[in-house]
Subunit: 462 residues, 2 copies
C-alpha cells in the first residue's frame, strides 16, 4: 500500500478551485474516517474525512454500489478505503460529492467510541485528548495551530532572523519568580546529575537568546516554557510555547514596530490560509471574531505611557466608572480590568502602554533617564488586555549590575552581565505566549482546548 496511489480530500478541494481541474466521472480512491453514515434503504450518505482537510466530503451509495450490505453498517469513527466517481454539484452547499463504486473497512470502530454525531462538551473531550482531534472544533484548532506556528517561522526567516534553540533545562530562571519545576535524575541526590547544579525547567529563553542577538543581530527563540504555578484558571498552563525575538541595535520604538508588524502578519497569514477554519470559529465559537481580527490588522497601534494611562484611569473613576480595584495610583501594577478599559473604552483598539515604574518590572529592563521608569511595553488588545510584553534591555554594565544585586538576580548570571562588557549595544525584544495567542485568534476560551495535550495542575494523563 503506497500513499502515492491515493488522492486526498485536500487535493480534491484544491483542484476544485482551478477551472476544469475536477471533472465529473473521474474515478478516485481515498482512505479516511467515517464521521457519520445514514441511509434510507435505497440511498445512503457518508460524511467522510481523511484528515487532510477541515471540510468533509460526502460519499453517496445505493443498492447498486458494490459491497452495499457492508457499507450500510460502517460505523462512526471507522476507517475505510473507497473508490468512487466525482459528481460536481455546484448548486449545493458542498460543491462536489463522490458516488461510491466500492468501499471496504480498513479498521473497525468499537461501538463505545466516545465521539458520536452529536455535540460533546469541551470538558468531556478534554478527557479524551487522543481522540478529540477528530471532533470538528479540535480539528479546526490544531489546523490553525499548525499554520500559526509556521507563520511565525516564515515571518522571521523572511527577515533573516536566526532561530535559536534555547535550553529547556537551565540553572537560572529569567524572572527570578521561583515558580519553577525542578529537574532531577535521582531523588536521593537531586543535584548530582549536573555536577552539583540544581536544574529547573526554563520560564523564558530571553536571557539565553540575548547572547545570540549580540552575535547575530536579529534572532528568535520559539519553544516550550514552563510554570509551576498552582493556578487553575482558563488561561494558565504548566507547559506552553513562547516566541521570543531579540533584536540588536534596536530601541523600544523598533521593538514596538516589530511587535505590531509581526502580529499583523501572523493574523493575516492565518486568516488567509485557514479560511474554512476561521469561518467555523466565527460562526460557532465567537461571533464577530473575524471583525475583531480585521480591526487589529487594520489599526495603527496607539502608543501611550503608563503615566498617561494612570491619568486616564483616575479620570474614569472620577467620572463614575467602577473597577473592582478603584484605587488607581501611580506605581500600581494594572489589572486586566484597567488594561481593558484603556484598550476597549478609551483607545478602542490595540495599544502599547510604555515606560512602566521600574519596581514592577524585571531587572533587565532599560532604565529611562527619569530614573523612575523603564523602557518596557505591554501590548493591550480589546477583550483580553495584555497579549504580549517587551522591553529595551539595560545595556549599561554598571546600572545592570547594581539592579541585579538590588533585586537579587546576580547569582549565576555573571555571563549575562558580561554581555555588557564585551561589545554590548542597545537591544530589545519581546515575549509572546503562543497558546494564548491561539486562543485570541480562534476565540477559544480555555487554554486546555488549544494545546494538543494540555498540562495543568492536578492531572497528568498521557
Amino acid at each position: 500500500m503506497a500513499q502515492e496511489r491515493s488522492i486526498t480530500n485536500q487535493l480534491l478541494f484544491e483542484r476544485l478551485k482551478v477551472k476544469d481541474q475536477l471533472k465529473n466521472d473521474e474515478v478516485v480512491k481515498l482512505e479516511g474516517w467515517v464521521r457519520s453514515n445514514r441511509n434510507n434503504g435505497s440511498i445512503g450518505f457518508i460524511e467522510f474525512n481523511d484528515g487532510s482537510s477541515f471540510k468533509n466530503v460526502q460519499l453517496v451509495y445505493t443498492k447498486e454500489t458494490k459491497n452495499y450490505d457492508n457499507i450500510v453498517h460502517f460505523r462512526t469513527g471507522c476507517t475505510i478505503q473507497i473508490e468512487g466517481k466525482i459528481v460536481l454539484t455546484p448548486e449545493n452547499k458542498q460543491p462536489f460529492e463522490i458516488h461510491l463504486i466500492d468501499a471496504f473497512l480498513l479498521g473497525d470502530c468499537s461501538e463505545d467510541y466516545p465521539i458520536q454525531k452529536k455535540r460533546h462538551s469541551f470538558e468531556f473531550l478534554r478527557d479524551i485528548a487522543h481522540l478529540r482531534p477528530r471532533a470538528n472544533t479540535f480539528n479546526a484548532i490544531f489546523r490553525v495551530r499548525n499554520k500559526l506556528a509556521f507563520a511565525i517561522h516564515q515571518y522571521f526567516q523572511e527577515r533573516d532572523f536566526m532561530y535559536v534553540h534555547t535550553p529547556e533545562i537551565t540553572s537560572n530562571d529569567a524572572e527570578g519568580a521561583g515558580q519553577v519545576f525542578h529537574v532531577v535524575s535521582d531523588f536521593k541526590d537531586p543535584t548530582a546529575f549536573f555536577g552539583g547544579s540544581s536544574a529547573s525547567l526554563t520560564v523564558s529563553g530571553q536571557l539565553h537568546v540575548e547572547a545570540f542577538a549580540l552575535a547575530f543581530r536579529n534572532v528568535y527563540t520559539f519553544g516550550p516554557t514552563f510554570r509551576a504555578e498552582n493556578s487553575n484558571t482558563t488561561r494558565h498552563a504548566s507547559e506552553f510555547w513562547m516566541i521570543e525575538p531579540e533584536i540588536a541595535f534596536a530601541d523600544l520604538e523598533d521593538d514596538m514596530d516589530l511587535m505590531e508588524d509581526f502580529l499583523k502578519y501572523i493574523i493575516k497569514y492565518v486568516m488567509k490560509n485557514c479560511e474554512d477554519e476561521m469561518n467555523f470559529f466565527n460562526t460557532m465559537i465567537e461571533k464577530g471574531l473575524l471583525d475583531k481580527l480585521n480591526h487589529v490588522v487594520n489599526s495603527n497601534f496607539v502608543r501611550m505611557t503608563y503615566t498617561e494611562g494612570i491619568e486616564i484611569l483616575k479620570n474614569a473613576v472620577k467620572a463614575g466608572h467602577k473597577f473592582e480595584n478603584n484605587n488607581i495610583e501611580w506605581g500600581m501594577d494594572l489589572q486586566s480590568e484597567h488594561e481593558r478599559y484603556l484598550t476597549e473604552v478609551h483607545v478602542k483598539g490595540p495599544m502599547f502602554l510604555i515606560d512602566f515604574p521600574k519596581h514592577i518590572k524585571a531587572f533587565y529592563m532599560k532604565q529611562n533617564s527619569d530614573g523612575k521608569t523603564v523602557a518596557a511595553c505591554d501590548l493591550l488588545v480589546p477583550q483580553v488586555g495584555e497579549i504580549c510584553g517587551g522591553s529595551q534591555r539595560e545595556e549599561n554594565y554598571e546600572v545592570l549590575k547594581k539592579k541585579m544585586v538590588e533585586m537579587g538576580n546576580d547569582k549565576g548570571l555573571e555571563w549575562y552581565l558580561e554581555l555588557r562588557k564585551f561589545g554590548g549595544c542597545i537591544h530589545s525584544g519581546f515575549g509572546l505566549g503562543f497558546d494564548r495567542l491561539l486562543m485570541y485568534i480562534t476565540g477559544m476560551q480555555n487554554i486546555r482546548d488549544v494545546e494538543p495535550y494540555p498540562r495543568t495542575p492536578g492531572s497528568l494523563k498521557y
Copy 2:
C-alpha cells in the same frame, strides 16, 4: 535609532550578486562588531561582522578618516557604527570593501575578552557558550542550525503535514527505558502537583503524535527531548531536538520513501542556502564533507533485511575481517562497527536495514508474518552507522495488547491501545535526532559544539 535606517552585511552581499546593484561610492551606514583591527600607521583594516552574514566585510581607514585617532584603538570584540563608501574590488578575494568616512564606538570591549584573533580550542569555547557564537566556527554552525530547522518545517509544510507540539512533561515514556528526568514542583511531595501522577521529561513524542496521525493523516513533531543517561560521550546530550513524522495509511516502504526523500531535501536545502558556511566546514572541519553529502543526495538508498546483513557480516568474519565483536549471530543488536561495515564496505552508500528480530526492538513495532521479526528500519550512512530509525506500527489491537503486557508497557498507555480500537489503520513513522544530523552535515565531532547551550552530565552553567 531605528534598525531600518542602517543596511546589513547580508544585504550588501545579496545586492552584489545582482548586476549593478552595488556600486562604487555608494555611502552606507552599518552597525556591528570588530573581529580584528590592524594598521601600519598610514592605512588600517577592520574585519567587521554585523551578525547578518557569515562572511566579514573589510573596512579600510586612513589618517584622512574622521575620528582616526579613536578608530585605531577599536579593540577586537567592540561594537561600532560606521559610515563609509563602497569600493568594488572584483580582482580581490573579497569582492568589495568599505572605505570609512567616520566610525564611532557603540560599546567597548574589555581587554580580557576571551575571543581573540587566534585559534581557540573547542573545549575552551564550550566554557563561554554566551560568547562563542562570535567565533567563526560557531557562527557557521548556528547559521546552519537555523537553516536546517527551517528546511524541516518547509519540507513538511509543503507536503501538508501538520506540525504537532507533543508535550515535554509526560506521565509515560515511549521506550520504557527508565533513563528519564523527573519533574517536580515540591520535593516533599513529588507527585502532588499533577494530582498523584509522577511526571517526567519526554524521551519521544511518537506515541502522542500517533493519535494525531489517526486524525490528520500526515503529521510531525519537532521539539526538545531528554535522556538522563550518564553517558559522557561525544554523541550524547541530556537535551536534544528530535523530528518525528508519522504517516497514516502507510507501510514500512512508504516510511523509507519518506525518510530518503526528506533527508535528501534537507541536505540539499542546506548546501544551497548555506554555501559559505558549508565551504568553510569542507575546508576547516571535514575534508571531503561536500563529497560525502553529495554522495548521499545522489544515491538510491539500498534496502536490505537484517537477516541478509547478518549473513554478510558472518561472511566478512570468515574472510578475515576483524570486528571488536566478531561473534556474529542472528538476534544480536548490531554495533556501530557492524553497521559501518555494511554501509561503508559492503554497500558503499546509504542503506536501510529492515525487519529486525522483535526482541531487540520496541513494543509498538508491527510484527511481520514470520512471527520473528518486526517491520522496523534503521537508516545507515557511511562514517556514522545508524542516523535514524523508523517502523511500521502495530495496528492490531490484540497483538499490540499482548506485546505491551509481555514487555511491561501496558500501564498508563490504555489510550494508546485504544487508537487500535477506534478506527485504526496501518501507519508508520520515524525519529531523527536533529543535533546528530547537524553534526553529520557540518562534520562537527562533538554534540556539545552544535547546540547553543549543550546540556550534558556533570555541569549546568547557563
